[in-house]
């Protein structure tokens, strides 16, 4: 499975990050590490939001967590207070939230491109996790 577990022991969800091949650091981790190095408080904010989602489910505060269902086809976003975001999708069957990648504050057009990228990852994940023959008589 091309995901790396970030928060494994949450009561509600296991938070994972999409991993390409055998890379040690996923795109989500690299983004958060970058924020830490830049001393950007968004790193702490995002880590807190992810851990909270893992333990209690996603935040009810739309300024922190938002479903992008209308435009993003099943995607969600975790927002930090200075505008950094982590795009993700929810695999309810496996009680997993899979983070695709992180993005800094962007203009709407650029954000759409990032959503397309996240959507492609979601499709790849669905193909990867599809149990072949499960519904065949």
């Amino acid at each position: 499975m091309p995901v790396k577990v970030l928060f494994p022991h949450g009561a509600r969800f296991v938070i994972c990050a999409w991993r390409v091949g055998e890379e040690e650091v996923t795109a989500t981790e690299a983004f958060i590490f970058g924020l830490i190095e830049a001393k950007n408080p968004d790193a702490e904010s995002l880590l807190y939001e992810l851990e909270k989602a893992s333990n209690h489910g996603p935040s009810r505060n739309v300024e922190k967590f938002r479903y992008l269902s209308g435009t993003g086809q099943g995607l969600v976003e975790f927002k930090a207070r200075r505008g950094s975001r982590v795009l993700a999708f929810i695999d309810a069957d496996r009680r997993r939230i899979v983070c695709t990648h992180g993005i800094p504050k962007l203009k709407p057009r650029r954000f759409e491109r990032e959503m397309e990228k996240a959507h492609e990852i979601r499709n790849a994940y669905l193909i990867e996790t599809m149990e072949v023959g499960k519904y065949v008589n």
């Binding site: 577990v5 650091v25 690299a30 807190y48 939001e49 935040s59 739309v62 922190k64 995607l75 999708f89």
Partner: protein, 142 residues
Amino acid sequence: MLTKKAGTRHMAKDFQEILNQVKSSESYDKEVLRGEISDQIACLMEAQEITKAELARRLHKSRAYVTKILQGNANFTLDTLVQLARVLGCKYMPVFVPVNIWKQIEARALNVSPQKVGESKLVAETYSPVTHNDPDSGKFTT
């Protein structure tokens, strides 16, 4: 823009190790408090069906200020905090918790001994795969 390259210096480090470092920092505690307060306000607003505009009207502030509060960006005073609690029909109750008591609370939540809270090994020790047949499982389908 922060790219993947910016994080490569942490390549050798483990995510859990870095997470534990961040969680022990003062700035993380500040972010947690900001997040907790804004989430509690958001929950109260949802429960009482109060819009941002309505809260702004009650506080005699702008709607943009309410958005800032919900984002966790407003560095408001204690006076504003008390005012916020009152307009939401609540009392604000600050509690100072000693660190050792806090560790016990965390340990109870994670079902481990207090000495092990914050250890990177904790992940491997407590990890167990989640069952798939939970009644809530369909709740977050998007």
